[in-house]
């Protein structure tokens, strides 16, 4: 369905979501804000991309979800990293490292 650049972006989004869940289990809005925070505001993830990604990753078995209470005592759906998710984070991190190195090399070439 998606063309090549979005695949790259999708991979990035997955990586960012996984990374944001390393420290603690948080809900959707929390993930969105955490990503905004750790990328210094570069990436703003809208619900339209966030939810499909979360549900897809849950079906992949990388994250799992449960209903809990938010900081303001609201019911919210929380996500946490699974074992497979941690492994996937490693894989994605390595892949991203390779890609960014390659891109950097390409840009530095005369």
């Amino acid at each position: 369905m998606n063309s090549a650049p979005t695949t790259l972006l999708q991979g990035t989004l997955d990586l960012l979501i996984l990374k944001s869940l390393v420290a603690s289990e948080i809900h959707g809005l929390g993930i969105s804000r955490r990503i905004q925070q750790i990328t210094g505001g570069t990436f703003v993830v809208k619900p339209g991309s966030l939810f499909p990604a979360l549900h897809r990753m849950e079906e992949e078995g990388w994250i799992s979800s449960f209903w809990g209470d938010s900081e303001n005592n609201r019911r919210a759906k929380y996500y946490r990293l699974t074992k497979a998710g941690r492994k996937q984070l490693e894989v994605e991190t390595k892949r991203w490292g390779r890609i960014s190195w390659a891109i950097a090399q390409a840009l530095e070439a005369p």
Binding site: L29, G48, F51, A53, E58, E59, R74, A84
Partner: protein
């Protein structure tokens, strides 16, 4: 593990979709309210906070839809929803759906039925181990033009010296008298080498098979019975194992019951046989010492190679046994599979297969046409849907799913048709055309076949309209005005020629079945001179040794006849060596004073004085022989009218002397060989129902002991009751005498003469009916399509003042042109094709005018009727609606 998670998600999405949806809804809403909260905390007014949150979220439904699209198994959901939609569509046009399903079901059903028949009778007739390698062989002489089996000495050499067979076992045919408290019955039994059972690899249903131990000289006599005999004689009693019975006056122990499909040799029971060079099986005739040899060819060995191998072994036999191995003899090896079904029937089956495949294709094209007609009327729907963003693939998938639903329903219905059809076919299959081992049923292979047929059907039916829909460009659909029939004349030609082919095929089929029907009627109306359902016949099987001479035989028969003729419902009874309508004994009759003829062209019957009355033969001249003549074995002969016409012309035959040189080698034949002609009777059928009677002579049965004989009784009462009384009388005279084949002459005619044409008739009639139905559907769908495509044009015509009859004839003319072309082609093809049937047709010309004319008008009638429905619809077109439609 991830695979497990995925599977769980897939199942949850599929079966708990409500819960998944509720969960999603709650999550999105909770997200929204948290966004609002965040914004209020940031200092916005509640209204503003709400608005900003909505903007960030971007629409609850859109988010949900995006999530749904990501879900595992999403494709299945959309296919299911397509299915639901298709079902709704089909329910909306029920008439269309029923027609289409019926048409396809008939196509799939008939192909499946014929394929089952071919699979059961031709491809896998035998249930035995490695059945495809089983082969048998005979000695063939081109000079004598016959093939036969061989005696034990040869069998032993073949078995020991061959290099081309894995195993080889021998079976010897023999008649067995099974004596029980209520009389004696005769069965065909096989004396078989005990390795037969292991070679065929079939375990008994009960008990044990025969063993080498059983075949040793002096071993206690044992036997094994067929499932058939177990059912008919013992009513499937499991306790009969180990019981002893009297077979051919010997007490034998029953040790096993074989399963239903073990029918090697078509025997009822099997006895052990140890074949050595000296084996001689006592019994009447030479036939009981000819061995039917069967074995598994070594893997990869062809019948020809095996024949060459056996030929080498047999070469020296020619010197020792020139009767069985005449000069220039050849060994011919055939696989059992290749001999399972006669060549005629095989040809018939393949012809049927071609026929039903054509039927299926025609059914497919009909349904494709129906779908096309529908697609035309649904053009707007497709236009709107593609304007709303449905992709072409999505539209094609939708159509394919519709036709797939049709095909699956048809497949189920088709299997039901096939099941019922098979039951009927198995019931009417002529006797002895398929081996008794064959099981004709819907097997997994057959069901797989029909599934394949369904898939092909789907593709053919679905693809044509789907490709058409592919062209349904929304813009064209809405702007084009002048699209008429001429717009796609190439497709139109294909459709039209299909209808023409259907009509032609139905004509050929219906004319063939009409001709077969007329010949069956002609056969059934052949006048035998008596009522065949009121004449009972019974073969009498005599125990060995007791009834060898004519006098011994006559003593028995005279006693039985005396007892039978005492019954009030018996008109006449006779002893006879033959039962109508075919005489098996052919002989040369020399007339004194004439040169003897060279050929054996005269039928001869040995009988008692009651014969003529029993079969209603009127005396034309002279006298019949009396009871006294028969008892005293007077040398008298009665001849038929044809004999007199052929041999004497206008001369008076009474008192002339004749002799029967063929019989003079019999030991008990009178020493004075001259017989006197005493009477002339009318002709009766003696060469089968179809052929005219040949010359025939009737002799007193007391003259010779050799020919086997039976009883024939003419009755006014219930023939089955009479038969029962005959059984009890025969058994009362001598409990060791058995009744062999018995029944009424009518059942005999049915078995030998009517079964074949009836089978052909039923098969052909079924296909004719299906063909006519297809013609109706075919014409209907094409004309409907034309009308649908011409709605606009018809609307204009009506608006301009065209009358109803003009519109009607516009549409009907088009249909009639197709039908008439088809009829002409069909008649022309039938004129040549019915000749292929000439061997099956009797009493009517293969180009019988009335049959041709009847079937042509029937096709015309069916075709016109199918035209009228859409034509009437055309006349109901409202000009305003038709014009606004565009």
């Amino acid at each position: 593990m991830p695979l497990f998670v995925k599977a769980r998600s897939f199942l949850r999405n599929l079966f708990l979709s409500r819960r998944v949806e509720i969960d999603l809804d709650q999550e999105v809403h909770s997200h929204l309210s948290m966004l609002v909260e965040e914004n209020t905390r940031g200092g916005m007014s509640p209204k503003e906070a709400q608005r900003a949150a909505w903007i960030e979220l971007g629409g609850i439904e859109q988010v949900k839809e995006q999530v749904r699209e990501q879900r595992i198994g999403n494709w299945l959901h959309s296919v299911l929803s397509d299915c639901r939609f298709a079902l709704r569509q089909l329910r909306k046009s029920l008439a269309f759906a029923v027609t289409a399903v019926l048409t396809l079901a008939l196509g799939i059903g008939s192909t499946t039925a014929i394929f089952s028949l071919i699979n059961g009778a031709l491809l896998n007739p035998y249930p035995y181990k490695n059945a495809e390698r089983l082969a048998t062989f005979v000695v063939f002489s081109a000079e004598q033009f016959r093939a036969w089996r061989f005696p034990a000495t040869a069998f032993v050499d073949f078995k020991q010296q061959n290099h081309t067979f894995d195993d080889m076992f021998g079976l010897v045919y023999r008649k067995v008298h099974f004596t029980r408290s209520n009389g004696t019955e005769e069965f065909t039994a096989g004396s078989v080498t005990p390795d037969t059972f292991a070679s065929l690899g079939i375990q008994p249903l009960l008990g044990r098979p025969l063993t080498d131990e059983d075949a040793r000289p002096g071993a206690p006599p044992v036997f094994v019975i067929s499932f058939r005999l177990w059912t008919s004689l013992f009513h499937r009693d499991r306790n009969i194992l180990g019981t002893t019975h009297t077979l051919n006056a010997t007490r034998m122990t029953l040790v096993g019951v074989m399963p239903p499909r073990f029918q090697i040799g078509d025997f009822e029971l099997w006895l052990p046989l140890n074949i050595t060079k000296n084996t001689f099986i006592p019994g009447a005739g030479i036939q009981s010492n000819e061995i039917w040899t069967v074995g598994h060819l070594k893997s990869g060995v062809s019948p020809e190679t095996a024949a060459a191998d056996l030929q080498l072994i047999a070469a020296p036999f020619q010197k020792d046994d020139p009767i069985y191995f005449p000069p220039h003899f050849r060994i011919v090896v055939n696989t059992l599979d290749s001999q399972a079904v006669g060549r005629d029937f095989k040809f018939g089956l393949f012809a049927l297969m071609v026929g039903v495949t054509m039927l299926l294709l025609i059914a497919c094209s009909n349904v494709a046409n129906l779908l096309l007609a529908r697609a035309t009327t649904r053009e707007r729907e497709f236009g709107i849907r593609s304007a709303l963003g449905a992709g072409r693939l999505r539209l094609i998938r939708q159509l394919l799913i519709e036709s797939f639903l049709l095909a699956i329903t048809s497949c189920a219905l088709g299997c039901l048709f096939a099941y019922l059809g098979l039951k009927t076919m198995v019931a009417v299959i002529p006797p002895d055309t398929i081996p008794p081992e064959a099981a004709i049923r819907l097997s997994p292979a057959v069901l797989l076949f029909s599934l394949c047929a369904t898939i092909i059907t789907t593709v053919i039916c679905g693809l044509v309209p789907a490709l058409y829909a592919h062209h349904a460009n929304p813009q064209v659909t809405h702007t084009s005005v002048g699209k008429g029939v001429s717009a796609d004349s190439r497709q139109g030609n294909l459709r039209n020629s299909l209808v023409v082919a259907e009509v032609a095929l139905s004509i050929v089929l219906s004319i063939s079945s009409g001709l077969i029907m007329r010949s069956l009627f002609a056969l059934q109306n052949v006048n035998l001179g008596f009522n065949p359902s009121k004449v009972v016949y019974a073969d009498i099987s005599l125990p060995e040794g007791q009834y060898d001479t004519a006098r011994q035989k006559h003593f028995l028969f005279r006693e039985v006849l005396n007892r039978i003729t005492r019954f009030p419902s018996v008109l006449a009874a006779t002893e006879t060596t033959n039962f109508p309508p075919y005489t098996f004994g052919w002989t040369t009759v020399a007339i004194s004073g004439q040169t003897p003829p060279q050929n054996r062209n005269t039928a001869s019957i040995f009988c008692t004085e009651g014969y003529f009355q029993t079969v209603g033969l009127p005396l034309l001249r002279g006298a019949l022989f009396s009871q006294n003549d028969v008892d005293a074995a007077h040398r008298l002969v009665v001849v038929n009218h044809t004999f007199v016409r052929d041999r004497f012309g206008e001369e008076n035959p009474i008192g002339r002397q004749v002799r029967f040189s063929d019989y003079e080698t019999w030991p008990d034949w009178p020493r004075d060989p001259y017989f006197e002609i005493v009477g002339v009777v009318a002709d009766a059928k003696n060469a089968g129902l179809q052929d005219p009677p040949r010359p025939e002579v009737y002799l007193p049965g007391t003259l010779a002991g050799a020919p086997p004989r039976g009883l024939m009784i003419s009755t006014t009462g219930n023939p089955h009751a009479i038969l029962e009384r005959v059984r009890s009388e025969v058994s009362a005279v001598d409990p060791n005498v058995a009744i062999g084949e018995a029944g009424t002459i009518a059942t005999r005619l049915d078995h030998y003469y009517f079964a074949r044409p009836r089978f052909l008739l039923i098969t052909l009639c079924t296909f004719t009916a299906v063909a006519f139905l297809l013609v109706a559907v075919g014409v209907f769908s094409v004309i409907s399509y034309t009308v649908a495509a011409q709605t606009h044009e018809i609307g204009i015509r009506i608006a301009l003042g065209a009358r109803t009859t003009q519109i009607l004839s516009l549409v009907v003319k088009r249909g009639l042109r197709l039908i008439l072309t088809g009829i002409l082609i069909g008649l022309f093809a039938s004129y040549f094709l019915t000749r292929l049937l000439s061997s099956q047709i009797w009493g009517v010309s293969t180009t019988d005018l009335s049959t041709f004319a009847t079937m042509a008008s029937l096709a015309l009638f069916v075709g016109s009727l199918a035209c009228l429905v859409p034509a009437r619809r055309a006349t109901l077109v409202e000009p305003i609606v038709a014009l606004r439609h565009e």
